[in-house]
C-alpha cells in the first residue's frame, strides 16, 4: 500500500473512532475529553494499535488545537468581564488558587519530580474545565440557578490567573531555568496588561472595524492574526498558546460572539486531535505506577473545590443544594490541565507528569459531570416531595 493510502486510512480511522467516542459521550451526557485521551493511549507507542504514518499531521494538528483552545478561552470572556467583577470575585478566586494549586505542587515535590514539573502539576490541578462546565450548565439548564454566577466568577478568575500563570510557565518551558525566563515573563506580562487595557478601552470598536460582513474574510483574518501572534510569542520565548490567548482577549463585543461561532467547529476538530496526541505521547505502561497519586489528587482536589463552592456559596447566601451543585461542576478538570501538562512535558517534565495529568483528567472530567448530574437529580426528588406535601395540605 502506498504512503497516501495508509495516511488516509489511518487518519480516517482515527476520526471515525473519535466520532464514535463523541457519540458515546453525548449519549451519557459526559465530556468526550477522557475518551479522546483514551483513544490516544490505545493508539500510541506501547498501545494496542500504534499509528505509523499520521504522526506528523497529528503533531501539527495538536499544536493548532492548543492555539485554538486558548484563542477560544480568550474569546469567551471580554476584557471587561475579566476585570469587571474582579473585586467581587477576588477573595473566592484567590482561595481557589491557593487550595487547588497546592495539591498538585505538593504532590510533584513529594513524588520527587523536581520544582519546575511540580509547578506544572500545580497548574494541572488548579484549572477547572470551563468547556466541560459550560456544557454542564447548558445541558442541565442551570443558567437560571443562584450558584451559576459564582461558578462562572470562579472560572473567570481562573481565566485571568491563566493570563499570568501561562506566560510564566510557558517562558519556563521554552527558556529552561526560572532565572533565564525572567525577560520572557516580563515581556509576556506586559503584553497581557496592554492587551487587557486596550481590550477594555477600545476592544469593541477595533474589533468592529476589523470585522467584515463576510464569514470567509473573518475566519481567515482571525486565524491569520492568531497564528502570527502565536509565532511572535514563541519567538520571544513565550508560549504560542499565550499569543493566541491574547488575541482572544483582544477581540470583544459582537465580533467575539461571531468569531466563536465561526471557530467552534475548527476548535472541536483540532482540540480532539490535541487530546489524542497527548494520549499518544503518554506511555500507557507509566499509568499503573501513578494510579495511587492520581486517586489521591482526585479526592483531595474534589474536596478543595468543594470548599471553594461552600465558602463562596455561603458568602452569596446560597443554600446547601446550590453549593453542592457548584462543587460538583467545579470538580471537572479538562482541556487546560492538559494544555499545561503539555507545556510541562516540553519543559522536560518526566513521563510521569504526562501520565499523572492524563489519569487525573480522565478521572475528574468523567466524575465532574456525573457528580453534577447526581446533584441535579437527587435534591430534585426531595423538593418534589415537599411541594407535593404542600399541595395536598392546601
Amino acid at each position: 500500500m502506498s504512503h497516501t493510502v495508509l495516511l488516509w486510512l489511518e487518519l480516517g480511522g482515527v476520526l471515525a473512532l473519535l466520532a464514535v467516542m463523541a457519540r458515546v459521550a453525548r449519549r451519557f451526557a459526559l465530556s468526550p475529553i477522557p475518551l479522546y485521551l483514551g483513544v490516544g493511549l490505545v493508539l500510541g507507542d506501547g498501545g494496542l494499535l500504534p499509528l505509523v504514518t499520521t504522526e506528523g499531521f497529528v503533531e501539527i494538528g495538536a499544536e493548532l488545537g492548543v492555539i485554538l483552545l486558548l484563542l477560544m478561552l480568550g474569546l469567551e470572556y471580554s476584557g471587561r468581564e475579566l476585570v469587571g467583577n474582579l473585586r467581587r470575585s477576588a477573595p473566592i478566586g484567590l482561595l481557589d488558587l491557593v487550595l487547588n494549586f497546592s495539591p498538585g505542587f505538593v504532590a510533584g515535590l513529594v513524588l520527587d519530580m523536581g520544582t519546575v514539573p511540580a509547578l506544572f502539576l500545580g497548574g494541572v490541578t488548579y484549572i477547572s474545565s470551563s468547556g466541560v462546565i459550560a456544557k454542564v450548565i447548558g445541558d442541565l439548564g442551570w443558567s437560571g440557578n443562584r450558584e451559576t454566577p459564582l461558578v462562572l466568577s470562579v472560572l473567570v478568575f481562573e481565566d485571568l490567573a491563566m493570563a499570568v500563570i501561562l506566560p510564566v510557565l510557558g517562558a519556563i518551558a521554552l527558556g529552561g531555568a526560572v532565572s533565564g525566563a525572567t525577560v520572557s515573563v516580563v515581556v509576556a506580562l506586559t503584553a497581557v496588561g496592554v492587551t487587557l487595557t486596550l481590550s477594555i478601552r477600545h476592544g469593541e470598536r477595533v474589533s468592529h472595524l476589523a470585522f467584515s460582513d463576510s464569514d470567509e474574510v473573518n475566519l481567515l483574518t482571525i486565524l491569520g492574526v492568531t497564528l502570527l501572534a502565536a509565532g511572535l510569542a514563541e519567538w520571544v520565548h513565550v508560549s504560542a498558546a499565550v499569543g493566541a490567548f491574547l488575541v482572544g482577549i483582544g477581540i470583544s463585543g459582537p465580533a467575539a460572539h461571531r468569531a466563536e461561532m465561526l471557530l467552534t467547529p475548527l476548535r472541536d476538530l483540532f482540540a480532539a486531535v490535541f487530546f489524542v496526541f497527548f494520549g499518544l505521547s503518554t506511555d500507557p505502561s507509566a499509568l499503573p505506577a501513578v494510579i495511587g497519586p492520581v486517586l489521591v489528587l482526585t479526592v483531595v482536589t474534589a474536596a478543595t473545590k468543594w470548599v471553594v463552592a461552600w465558602v463562596g456559596g455561603a458568602r452569596e447566601r446560597i443554600g446547601s443544594k446550590g453549593r453542592w451543585r457548584a462543587a460538583a461542576a467545579l470538580t471537572a478538570r479538562g482541556e487546560f490541565s492538559i494544555v499545561i501538562a503539555g507545556l510541562g512535558v516540553t519543559a522536560g517534565g518526566s513521563a510521569r507528569l504526562s501520565a499523572i495529568a492524563a489519569g487525573y483528567v480522565l478521572l475528574t472530567a468523567t466524575l465532574g459531570p456525573i457528580a453534577a448530574l447526581v446533584s441535579d437529580r437527587w435534591p430534585a426528588a426531595s423538593t418534589a416531595a415537599s411541594t407535593t406535601a404542600a399541595a395536598t395540605s392546601r
Binding site: E76, Y77, S78, R80, E81, L82, G84, N85, S130, A134, I137, G141, W142, S143, G144, N145, R146, E147, T148, P149, L152, S153, L155, V156, R201, H202, E204, R205, H208, G253, P254, H257, I318, G319, K321, G322, P379, A380, T383, S386, T387, A390
Partner: protein, 161 residues
Amino acid sequence: MGHLDETSLPGIGKRVEFFTDEGRRMGVVRHHSGRREVFVCQPADPDTTDVAVILSEDDAHSLVDALGVESVTAGAGERTYEVEGLVFEWLDVDPNSPAVGRSIGELRIRTQTGASVVAVIRRPRAVPAPEPGFVIEAGDTVVVAGTLDGVERVRDLIQTA
C-alpha cells in the same frame, strides 16, 4: 414596578431576575446569541431552576404581546428600548454626574463606547443630534443609541455616582 436584579453571566450573557408577588424567583437569561431563556423557581427553593423555557427572538416578541404590557421599561431614571440588537437608552443626568458641565466631544462618548448621543432632552424641549460642542447640564436626559455593551458604557460615563 418591582425590583429587577441584573447579573452578568460571563460567557453566557446576562440574567435579569425578580421575585413575584407570590414569592417565586423568576427571570430571563439573555444569551449573547440573542436566545432568551425564561426560568421559574419553586417558592420553597429559590436557588434552583424549576422550569426553563427557551425563546427565540420571535417567541420573545410573542410573549411580550401576549402579556399585553409595553416593551419600553420605565424604571428609576432610565428607559431602555431594544430593536433588533440596537439599544436606545434615556439616561438622566443628575447634579453629581461627572458629565455635568462637559461637552459631548470632551466626554468622547462615541470614541470610548461606540454608542452615539442621538438627542438631549432639556425640558421643555429636545435637542436632536447635538453637536460635539454641546455642553451637558444637570437635569438633562441624554438619549443614546448603540449596542447593549456600548450603551452600558455610556451609562457608566454619565451615571458614575
